[in-house]
Protein backbone atom coordinates (compact mmCIF):
# COMPACT_ATOMS: atom_id res chain seq x y z
CA UNK A 1 0.00 0.00 0.00
CA UNK A 2 1.13 3.55 -0.68
CA UNK A 3 0.22 5.87 2.15
CA UNK A 4 0.33 9.62 1.79
CA UNK A 5 0.00 11.16 5.24
CA UNK A 6 -0.57 14.85 5.86
CA UNK A 7 1.78 15.93 3.13
CA UNK A 8 2.40 19.64 2.77
CA UNK A 9 4.58 21.21 0.13
CA UNK A 10 5.45 24.77 -0.65
CA UNK A 11 7.03 26.39 -3.68
CA UNK A 12 8.38 29.56 -2.16
CA UNK A 13 5.46 30.95 -0.21
CA UNK A 14 2.83 29.21 -2.30
CA UNK A 15 1.44 26.04 -0.77
CA UNK A 16 0.91 23.53 -3.54
CA UNK A 17 -0.07 20.61 -1.31
CA UNK A 18 -2.01 21.23 1.87
CA UNK A 19 -2.24 18.38 4.31
CA UNK A 20 -2.81 15.80 1.59
CA UNK A 21 -3.65 12.29 2.78
CA UNK A 22 -4.87 9.24 0.89
CA UNK A 23 -3.91 5.66 0.26
CA UNK A 24 -3.52 3.53 -2.83
CA UNK A 25 -3.70 -0.23 -2.50
CA UNK A 26 -1.93 -2.92 -4.42
CA UNK A 27 -4.23 -4.55 -6.97
CA UNK A 28 -6.27 -1.39 -7.36
CA UNK A 29 -6.32 1.49 -9.78
CA UNK A 30 -6.45 4.78 -7.93
CA UNK A 31 -7.19 7.88 -9.95
CA UNK A 32 -6.12 11.37 -8.92
CA UNK A 33 -8.51 13.78 -10.57
CA UNK A 34 -8.33 17.52 -10.70
CA UNK A 35 -7.91 20.31 -13.20
CA UNK A 36 -4.37 21.16 -14.25
CA UNK A 37 -2.14 22.77 -11.68
CA UNK A 38 -3.78 21.40 -8.55
CA UNK A 39 -0.76 19.38 -7.48
CA UNK A 40 -1.39 15.96 -9.04
CA UNK A 41 2.04 15.70 -10.63
CA UNK A 42 3.68 17.12 -7.52
CA UNK A 43 2.16 14.31 -5.45
CA UNK A 44 3.61 11.73 -7.82
CA UNK A 45 7.02 13.35 -7.75
CA UNK A 46 6.86 13.51 -3.96
CA UNK A 47 6.06 9.79 -3.78
CA UNK A 48 9.12 9.08 -5.93
CA UNK A 49 11.32 11.48 -3.92
CA UNK A 50 11.83 13.58 -7.02
CA UNK A 51 10.86 16.68 -5.09
CA UNK A 52 11.14 17.30 -1.34
CA UNK A 53 8.09 17.79 0.88
CA UNK A 54 7.86 20.27 3.74
CA UNK A 55 6.00 18.07 6.17
CA UNK A 56 4.13 14.81 6.35
CA UNK A 57 5.17 11.33 5.42
CA UNK A 58 4.93 9.00 2.47
CA UNK A 59 5.21 5.26 3.00
CA UNK A 60 5.45 2.47 0.47
CA UNK A 61 4.47 -0.85 2.03
CA UNK A 62 5.16 0.71 5.40
CA UNK A 63 8.59 2.12 4.66
CA UNK A 64 9.99 5.40 3.44
CA UNK A 65 11.35 5.37 -0.07
CA UNK A 66 14.96 4.24 -0.38
CA UNK A 67 17.17 3.15 -3.25
CA UNK A 68 15.76 -0.39 -3.22
CA UNK A 69 12.23 0.98 -3.57
CA UNK A 70 12.89 1.83 -7.20
CA UNK A 71 12.79 -1.90 -7.95
CA UNK A 72 9.29 -1.95 -6.48
CA UNK A 73 7.68 1.23 -7.67
CA UNK A 74 8.02 3.15 -10.90
CA UNK A 75 6.83 6.45 -12.28
CA UNK A 76 5.81 7.13 -15.85
CA UNK A 77 5.91 10.92 -16.28
CA UNK A 78 4.24 12.67 -19.20
CA UNK A 79 7.60 13.15 -20.90
CA UNK A 80 9.99 10.47 -22.05
CA UNK A 81 12.72 9.60 -19.58
CA UNK A 82 15.28 8.35 -22.04
CA UNK A 83 17.85 10.06 -24.21
CA UNK A 84 16.29 11.22 -27.48
CA UNK A 85 19.16 9.95 -29.60
CA UNK A 86 18.59 6.39 -28.36
CA UNK A 87 16.83 3.74 -30.37
CA UNK A 88 14.13 1.88 -28.47
CA UNK A 89 16.43 -1.11 -28.10
CA UNK A 90 19.16 1.07 -26.55
CA UNK A 91 16.62 2.24 -24.01
CA UNK A 92 15.77 -1.39 -23.25
CA UNK A 93 19.46 -2.21 -22.78
CA UNK A 94 19.79 0.70 -20.39
CA UNK A 95 16.82 -0.49 -18.37
CA UNK A 96 18.08 -4.08 -18.29
CA UNK A 97 21.49 -2.82 -17.21
CA UNK A 98 20.24 -0.91 -14.22
CA UNK A 99 17.06 -2.63 -13.04
CA UNK A 100 16.93 -6.17 -11.73
CA UNK A 101 13.16 -6.07 -12.15
CA UNK A 102 13.32 -5.34 -15.90
CA UNK A 103 11.36 -7.95 -17.83
CA UNK A 104 12.63 -8.03 -21.41
CA UNK A 105 10.02 -10.57 -22.53
CA UNK A 106 7.28 -8.26 -21.47
CA UNK A 107 8.95 -5.28 -23.12
CA UNK A 108 9.06 -7.16 -26.41
CA UNK A 109 5.45 -8.20 -26.00
CA UNK A 110 4.39 -4.61 -25.40
CA UNK A 111 6.44 -3.41 -28.33
CA UNK A 112 4.52 -5.81 -30.57
CA UNK A 113 1.22 -4.86 -29.00
CA UNK A 114 1.87 -1.20 -29.76
CA UNK A 115 3.29 -2.08 -33.20
CA UNK A 116 6.56 -0.26 -32.62
CA UNK A 117 9.98 -1.23 -33.93
CA UNK A 118 13.08 -1.80 -31.80
CA UNK A 119 15.13 0.29 -34.17
CA UNK A 120 12.87 3.35 -33.98
CA UNK A 121 14.73 6.36 -32.70
CA UNK A 122 13.05 8.02 -29.73
CA UNK A 123 13.50 11.55 -31.07
CA UNK A 124 11.70 10.58 -34.28
CA UNK A 125 8.57 9.11 -32.66
CA UNK A 126 5.17 10.80 -32.81
CA UNK A 127 3.72 12.10 -29.58
CA UNK A 128 1.43 9.11 -29.18
CA UNK A 129 4.25 6.66 -29.85
CA UNK A 130 6.58 8.45 -27.46
CA UNK A 131 3.93 8.05 -24.77
CA UNK A 132 3.71 4.36 -25.62
CA UNK A 133 7.46 3.86 -25.32
CA UNK A 134 7.40 5.69 -22.01
CA UNK A 135 4.63 3.36 -20.91
CA UNK A 136 6.59 0.30 -21.99
CA UNK A 137 9.63 1.44 -19.99
CA UNK A 138 7.44 1.52 -16.89
CA UNK A 139 5.22 -1.49 -17.46
CA UNK A 140 8.01 -3.87 -18.45
CA UNK A 141 9.38 -3.59 -14.95
CA UNK A 142 8.15 -6.23 -12.54
CA UNK A 143 7.20 -3.67 -9.95
CA UNK A 144 4.31 -3.68 -7.48
CA UNK A 145 3.33 -0.07 -8.04
CA UNK A 146 3.09 2.03 -11.16
CA UNK A 147 2.44 5.76 -11.13
CA UNK A 148 1.28 7.31 -14.39
CA UNK A 149 1.01 11.00 -15.02
CA UNK A 150 -1.70 11.90 -17.55
CA UNK A 151 -1.17 8.88 -19.80
CA UNK A 152 -4.02 9.98 -22.06
CA UNK A 153 -3.34 13.64 -22.42
CA UNK A 154 -2.56 15.06 -25.83
CA UNK A 155 -2.64 11.70 -27.53
CA UNK A 156 -4.68 10.60 -30.54
CA UNK A 157 -7.84 8.55 -30.01
CA UNK A 158 -6.38 5.27 -31.30
CA UNK A 159 -3.35 5.46 -29.07
CA UNK A 160 -5.71 6.26 -26.23
CA UNK A 161 -7.73 3.15 -26.86
CA UNK A 162 -4.59 1.05 -27.03
CA UNK A 163 -3.35 2.45 -23.76
CA UNK A 164 -6.74 1.92 -22.11
CA UNK A 165 -6.59 -1.70 -23.29
CA UNK A 166 -3.40 -2.12 -21.31
CA UNK A 167 -5.27 -1.29 -18.12
CA UNK A 168 -7.59 -4.27 -18.43
CA UNK A 169 -4.80 -6.67 -19.26
CA UNK A 170 -2.44 -8.83 -17.23
CA UNK A 171 0.09 -6.01 -17.47
CA UNK A 172 -1.72 -4.12 -14.79
CA UNK A 173 -3.40 -6.93 -12.93
CA UNK A 174 -2.37 -7.30 -9.30
CA UNK A 175 -0.32 -4.14 -9.32
CA UNK A 176 -1.14 -0.96 -7.52
CA UNK A 177 -1.66 1.84 -9.98
CA UNK A 178 -1.98 5.56 -9.38
CA UNK A 179 -2.98 7.54 -12.42
CA UNK A 180 -3.59 11.25 -12.74
CA UNK A 181 -6.01 12.72 -15.20
CA UNK A 182 -8.07 15.84 -15.73
CA UNK A 183 -10.73 14.06 -17.73
CA UNK A 184 -12.10 10.77 -16.63
CA UNK A 185 -14.29 9.75 -19.58
CA UNK A 186 -11.85 7.26 -21.06
CA UNK A 187 -11.33 5.36 -17.88
CA UNK A 188 -14.43 5.69 -15.78
CA UNK A 189 -15.05 1.94 -15.88
CA UNK A 190 -11.47 1.04 -15.24
CA UNK A 191 -10.76 2.64 -11.93
CA UNK A 192 -11.34 1.35 -8.42
CA UNK A 193 -10.81 4.44 -6.43
CA UNK A 194 -11.01 8.16 -7.00
CA UNK A 195 -9.20 10.95 -5.17
CA UNK A 196 -10.56 14.38 -6.04
CA UNK A 197 -8.06 17.19 -5.69
CA UNK A 198 -8.44 20.90 -5.88
CA UNK A 199 -5.89 23.56 -5.04
CA UNK A 200 -3.61 21.18 -3.23
CA UNK A 201 -6.38 19.77 -1.06
CA UNK A 202 -8.02 16.34 -1.18
CA UNK A 203 -11.73 17.12 -1.49
CA UNK A 204 -12.96 13.55 -1.49
CA UNK A 205 -11.65 10.02 -1.64
CA UNK A 206 -14.11 7.31 -2.66
CA UNK A 207 -14.62 3.88 -4.19
CA UNK A 208 -16.18 4.22 -7.64
CA UNK A 209 -18.31 1.05 -7.49
CA UNK A 210 -19.46 1.82 -3.98
CA UNK A 211 -20.74 5.24 -4.97
CA UNK A 212 -22.59 3.72 -7.92
CA UNK A 213 -24.06 1.01 -5.74
CA UNK A 214 -25.02 3.01 -2.67
CA UNK A 215 -25.82 6.39 -4.16
CA UNK A 216 -26.51 5.54 -7.80
CA UNK A 217 -24.05 8.20 -8.89
CA UNK A 218 -21.41 8.17 -11.54
CA UNK A 219 -17.92 9.44 -10.81
CA UNK A 220 -18.75 12.55 -12.80
CA UNK A 221 -21.91 13.08 -10.68
CA UNK A 222 -19.76 13.06 -7.57
CA UNK A 223 -17.23 15.41 -9.15
CA UNK A 224 -20.00 17.80 -10.08
CA UNK A 225 -21.29 17.81 -6.50
CA UNK A 226 -17.89 18.22 -4.93
CA UNK A 227 -16.52 20.90 -7.22
CA UNK A 228 -19.74 22.92 -7.15
CA UNK A 229 -19.89 22.94 -3.35
Amino acid sequence: MIEIKNVTKKFGRKKVLKDVSFTAKKGEITCLIGINGVGKTTIMKAIMALTPINSGEILIDGEKIHKGSYEKITFIPDTITMLPQMQIRDAFVFMADFYDCWNQGRATELLQFFKLKETDRISELSKGNTAKVNLILGLAMDVDYVLMDEPFSGIDIFSREQIADVFTSHLIEDRGVIITTHEINDIEHLIDKVVLLDNGVVLKEFDAEEVREKEGKSVIDVMREVYKA
Partner: protein
Protein backbone atom coordinates in the same frame (compact mmCIF):
# COMPACT_ATOMS: atom_id res chain seq x y z
CA UNK B 1 29.63 -0.71 -7.26
CA UNK B 2 28.40 -2.53 -10.35
CA UNK B 3 25.88 0.20 -11.05
CA UNK B 4 28.46 2.90 -10.36
CA UNK B 5 30.73 1.43 -13.03
CA UNK B 6 27.81 1.14 -15.43
CA UNK B 7 26.97 4.76 -14.79
CA UNK B 8 30.56 5.81 -15.47
CA UNK B 9 30.52 3.80 -18.67
CA UNK B 10 27.20 5.36 -19.64
CA UNK B 11 28.28 8.93 -18.88
CA UNK B 12 31.58 8.36 -20.65
CA UNK B 13 29.84 7.21 -23.82
CA UNK B 14 27.48 10.16 -23.83
CA UNK B 15 30.30 12.62 -24.47
CA UNK B 16 32.47 10.28 -26.46
CA UNK B 17 31.73 11.65 -29.94
CA UNK B 18 32.63 15.17 -28.96
CA UNK B 19 35.66 13.82 -27.13
CA UNK B 20 36.89 12.15 -30.28
CA UNK B 21 36.48 15.47 -32.06
CA UNK B 22 38.59 17.15 -29.36
CA UNK B 23 41.26 14.49 -29.75
CA UNK B 24 41.17 14.93 -33.52
CA UNK B 25 41.50 18.71 -33.26
CA UNK B 26 44.44 18.35 -30.88
CA UNK B 27 46.33 15.87 -33.03
CA UNK B 28 45.73 17.75 -36.27
CA UNK B 29 46.41 21.20 -34.94
CA UNK B 30 49.58 20.27 -33.08
CA UNK B 31 51.09 18.26 -35.92
CA UNK B 32 50.18 20.93 -38.45
CA UNK B 33 51.68 23.39 -35.95
CA UNK B 34 54.98 21.55 -35.92
CA UNK B 35 55.07 21.58 -39.72
CA UNK B 36 54.01 25.21 -40.10
CA UNK B 37 56.36 26.51 -37.44
CA UNK B 38 59.28 24.47 -38.82
CA UNK B 39 58.57 25.72 -42.34
CA UNK B 40 58.45 29.30 -41.12
CA UNK B 41 61.79 28.87 -39.37
CA UNK B 42 63.38 27.22 -42.39
CA UNK B 43 61.98 29.80 -44.79
CA UNK B 44 63.51 32.55 -42.76
CA UNK B 45 66.79 30.64 -42.59
CA UNK B 46 66.75 30.13 -46.38
CA UNK B 47 65.94 33.75 -46.99
CA UNK B 48 68.70 35.05 -44.79
CA UNK B 49 71.33 32.50 -45.64
CA UNK B 50 70.80 32.20 -49.40
CA UNK B 51 69.50 35.63 -50.31
CA UNK B 52 71.22 37.82 -47.79
CA UNK B 53 74.19 35.49 -47.50
CA UNK B 54 74.19 35.34 -43.72
CA UNK B 55 76.38 32.64 -42.23
CA UNK B 56 74.65 29.64 -40.70
CA UNK B 57 76.38 30.22 -37.38
CA UNK B 58 75.42 33.91 -37.52
CA UNK B 59 71.79 32.99 -38.18
CA UNK B 60 71.70 30.52 -35.33
CA UNK B 61 73.31 33.04 -33.05
CA UNK B 62 70.75 35.68 -33.96
CA UNK B 63 67.59 33.60 -34.21
CA UNK B 64 68.44 30.60 -32.09
CA UNK B 65 67.98 26.97 -33.05
CA UNK B 66 64.60 25.48 -33.71
CA UNK B 67 63.36 23.47 -30.78
CA UNK B 68 60.09 22.33 -29.29
CA UNK B 69 60.14 25.42 -27.11
CA UNK B 70 59.14 27.53 -30.13
CA UNK B 71 56.36 25.14 -31.01
CA UNK B 72 55.00 24.84 -27.51
CA UNK B 73 54.50 28.62 -27.41
CA UNK B 74 52.56 28.67 -30.67
CA UNK B 75 48.81 28.96 -31.02
CA UNK B 76 48.82 25.73 -33.02
CA UNK B 77 50.07 23.91 -29.95
CA UNK B 78 48.43 25.77 -27.08
CA UNK B 79 45.16 26.52 -28.90
CA UNK B 80 43.79 22.96 -28.82
CA UNK B 81 44.87 22.57 -25.18
CA UNK B 82 42.85 25.66 -24.32
CA UNK B 83 39.91 24.46 -26.46
CA UNK B 84 39.93 21.07 -24.69
CA UNK B 85 40.22 22.74 -21.29
CA UNK B 86 37.38 25.16 -21.95
CA UNK B 87 35.18 22.44 -23.45
CA UNK B 88 35.68 20.20 -20.43
CA UNK B 89 35.02 23.13 -18.12
CA UNK B 90 31.74 23.81 -19.91
CA UNK B 91 30.98 20.11 -19.78
CA UNK B 92 31.38 20.17 -15.98
CA UNK B 93 28.14 22.18 -16.05
CA UNK B 94 26.53 20.58 -19.05
CA UNK B 95 26.98 17.06 -17.66
CA UNK B 96 24.24 18.00 -15.17
CA UNK B 97 22.10 20.42 -17.08
CA UNK B 98 21.71 18.19 -20.12
CA UNK B 99 19.64 15.86 -17.92
CA UNK B 100 17.35 18.60 -16.71
CA UNK B 101 16.88 21.11 -19.47
CA UNK B 102 14.81 20.67 -22.57
CA UNK B 103 12.00 18.29 -23.31
CA UNK B 104 13.81 15.13 -22.39
CA UNK B 105 13.76 14.55 -18.71
CA UNK B 106 16.51 12.04 -18.30
CA UNK B 107 17.13 13.44 -14.82
CA UNK B 108 13.98 11.62 -13.68
CA UNK B 109 15.49 8.35 -14.81
CA UNK B 110 18.85 8.98 -13.14
CA UNK B 111 17.20 9.83 -9.83
CA UNK B 112 14.94 6.78 -10.03
CA UNK B 113 17.72 4.26 -10.48
CA UNK B 114 17.83 1.60 -7.79
CA UNK B 115 21.20 2.76 -6.54
CA UNK B 116 22.45 5.41 -4.14
CA UNK B 117 22.03 8.75 -5.89
CA UNK B 118 25.52 9.60 -4.79
CA UNK B 119 26.67 7.16 -7.47
CA UNK B 120 25.22 9.46 -10.12
CA UNK B 121 27.19 12.36 -8.66
CA UNK B 122 30.44 10.44 -8.31
CA UNK B 123 30.04 8.83 -11.73
CA UNK B 124 29.72 12.24 -13.37
CA UNK B 125 32.84 13.42 -11.52
CA UNK B 126 34.71 10.26 -12.47
CA UNK B 127 33.78 10.84 -16.09
CA UNK B 128 35.25 14.34 -16.01
CA UNK B 129 38.44 13.03 -14.37
CA UNK B 130 38.78 10.27 -16.96
CA UNK B 131 38.35 12.76 -19.78
CA UNK B 132 40.97 15.08 -18.31
CA UNK B 133 43.46 12.29 -17.72
CA UNK B 134 42.75 10.93 -21.18
CA UNK B 135 43.64 14.23 -22.80
CA UNK B 136 46.78 14.58 -20.68
CA UNK B 137 47.82 11.07 -21.68
CA UNK B 138 47.13 11.91 -25.31
CA UNK B 139 49.38 14.94 -25.02
CA UNK B 140 52.15 12.84 -23.47
CA UNK B 141 51.89 10.38 -26.35
CA UNK B 142 51.79 13.16 -28.92
CA UNK B 143 54.94 14.89 -27.72
CA UNK B 144 57.46 12.25 -28.92
CA UNK B 145 55.54 11.96 -32.20
CA UNK B 146 55.68 15.70 -32.69
CA UNK B 147 59.39 15.75 -31.75
CA UNK B 148 59.95 13.16 -34.44
CA UNK B 149 58.08 15.27 -37.01
CA UNK B 150 60.22 18.21 -36.00
CA UNK B 151 63.37 16.14 -36.57
CA UNK B 152 62.16 15.22 -40.06
CA UNK B 153 61.41 18.80 -40.89
CA UNK B 154 64.48 20.61 -39.57
CA UNK B 155 68.12 19.57 -40.25
CA UNK B 156 70.02 18.73 -37.12
CA UNK B 157 72.41 21.70 -37.26
CA UNK B 158 69.47 24.08 -36.85
CA UNK B 159 67.82 22.04 -34.15
CA UNK B 160 68.04 21.56 -30.39
CA UNK B 161 66.40 18.29 -29.42
CA UNK B 162 64.47 18.24 -26.18
CA UNK B 163 63.29 15.18 -24.31
CA UNK B 164 59.61 14.81 -23.39
CA UNK B 165 60.64 15.45 -19.82
CA UNK B 166 62.26 18.75 -20.76
CA UNK B 167 59.25 19.82 -22.81
CA UNK B 168 56.79 19.14 -20.01
CA UNK B 169 58.89 21.32 -17.70
CA UNK B 170 58.10 24.48 -19.66
CA UNK B 171 56.16 26.92 -17.55
CA UNK B 172 53.04 26.67 -19.66
CA UNK B 173 52.90 22.91 -19.45
CA UNK B 174 54.32 22.16 -16.02
CA UNK B 175 50.92 22.36 -14.38
CA UNK B 176 49.49 19.75 -16.76
CA UNK B 177 52.46 17.46 -16.29
CA UNK B 178 53.68 17.59 -12.69
CA UNK B 179 57.15 16.26 -12.07
CA UNK B 180 56.61 14.57 -8.77
CA UNK B 181 53.86 12.43 -7.37
CA UNK B 182 53.21 15.02 -4.68
CA UNK B 183 52.70 17.72 -7.27
CA UNK B 184 50.49 15.41 -9.26
CA UNK B 185 48.29 14.69 -6.25
CA UNK B 186 48.28 18.37 -5.39
CA UNK B 187 47.35 19.74 -8.82
CA UNK B 188 44.90 17.06 -9.81
CA UNK B 189 43.52 16.81 -6.28
CA UNK B 190 42.85 20.55 -6.33
CA UNK B 191 41.30 20.18 -9.77
CA UNK B 192 39.01 17.39 -8.65
CA UNK B 193 38.07 19.31 -5.50
CA UNK B 194 37.12 22.23 -7.75
CA UNK B 195 34.96 19.94 -9.88
CA UNK B 196 33.20 18.59 -6.78
CA UNK B 197 32.64 22.12 -5.48
CA UNK B 198 31.11 23.17 -8.80
CA UNK B 199 28.96 20.02 -8.85
CA UNK B 200 27.67 20.76 -5.38
CA UNK B 201 26.99 24.38 -6.34
CA UNK B 202 25.02 23.07 -9.36
CA UNK B 203 23.04 20.82 -7.04
CA UNK B 204 22.24 23.87 -4.89
CA UNK B 205 20.86 25.54 -7.99
CA UNK B 206 18.93 22.42 -9.04
CA UNK B 207 17.47 22.07 -5.54
CA UNK B 208 16.51 25.66 -4.82
CA UNK B 209 16.53 27.14 -8.33
CA UNK B 210 16.84 30.96 -8.22
CA UNK B 211 17.63 31.06 -4.52
CA UNK B 212 19.94 28.13 -5.15
CA UNK B 213 22.13 30.27 -7.41
CA UNK B 214 22.82 32.51 -4.40
CA UNK B 215 23.34 29.52 -2.09
CA UNK B 216 25.64 27.93 -4.64
CA UNK B 217 27.66 31.09 -5.04
CA UNK B 218 27.96 31.57 -1.27
CA UNK B 219 28.91 27.95 -0.91
CA UNK B 220 31.74 28.38 -3.43
CA UNK B 221 32.99 31.50 -1.62
CA UNK B 222 32.95 29.70 1.74
CA UNK B 223 34.79 26.72 0.25
CA UNK B 224 37.49 28.95 -1.20
CA UNK B 225 37.85 30.87 2.06
CA UNK B 226 38.12 27.66 4.00
CA UNK B 227 40.79 26.38 1.64
CA UNK B 228 42.89 29.54 1.71
CA UNK B 229 42.26 30.39 5.37
CA UNK B 230 45.45 28.67 6.64
CA UNK B 231 47.54 30.66 4.12
CA UNK B 232 45.98 33.98 5.13
CA UNK B 233 46.19 33.24 8.84
CA UNK B 234 49.82 32.20 8.54
CA UNK B 235 50.70 35.22 6.43
CA UNK B 236 48.81 38.01 8.13
CA UNK B 237 48.06 36.89 11.67
CA UNK B 238 50.83 34.54 12.66
CA UNK B 239 53.56 36.28 10.67
CA UNK B 240 54.77 33.21 8.81
CA UNK B 241 54.91 31.03 11.87
CA UNK B 242 54.82 27.70 10.01
CA UNK B 243 57.55 26.10 7.94
CA UNK B 244 56.75 25.52 4.31
CA UNK B 245 56.42 21.77 4.81
CA UNK B 246 54.05 22.33 7.73
CA UNK B 247 51.97 24.69 5.61
CA UNK B 248 51.87 22.06 2.92
CA UNK B 249 50.29 19.53 5.26
CA UNK B 250 47.91 22.09 6.74
CA UNK B 251 46.81 23.03 3.23
CA UNK B 252 46.44 19.37 2.37
CA UNK B 253 44.16 18.98 5.38
CA UNK B 254 42.20 22.09 4.41
CA UNK B 255 41.82 20.68 0.91
CA UNK B 256 40.58 17.36 2.23
CA UNK B 257 38.16 19.17 4.51
CA UNK B 258 36.76 21.27 1.67
CA UNK B 259 36.48 18.22 -0.56
CA UNK B 260 34.69 16.23 2.15
CA UNK B 261 32.27 19.11 2.68
CA UNK B 262 31.57 19.24 -1.05
CA UNK B 263 30.87 15.51 -1.18
CA UNK B 264 28.81 15.46 2.01
CA UNK B 265 26.72 18.46 0.96
CA UNK B 266 26.34 17.09 -2.55
CA UNK B 267 25.13 13.79 -1.16
CA UNK B 268 22.65 15.52 1.12
CA UNK B 269 21.26 17.66 -1.70
CA UNK B 270 20.93 14.95 -4.31
CA UNK B 271 19.36 12.62 -1.78
CA UNK B 272 16.92 14.93 -0.07
CA UNK B 273 16.54 18.26 -1.78
CA UNK B 274 16.87 17.89 -5.51
CA UNK B 275 13.93 18.63 -7.78
CA UNK B 276 13.17 17.50 -11.27
Amino acid sequence: MKRYLKLVNFEFNRFFKLYIVLIGITILSQIIGVIVESRAYLNRANELIYKELMLKSEFIEQYGTMSFATISRSLWFLGPIVVCGVTLLIYVFFIWYRDWLGKNTFGYRLLMLPTARMNVYVAKATTILLYVLGLVALQLLLLPVESQVLQWMVPSEFRTDLSVNEITNFNDLAILFPNTLIEFVLYYGAGMAAVFIIFTAILFERSFRIKGIIYGFLYCVVSLLLFFAPLFINEFILGNYFYLIEMFFIELLAGILVLSCAIWTGNFLIKNKIRV
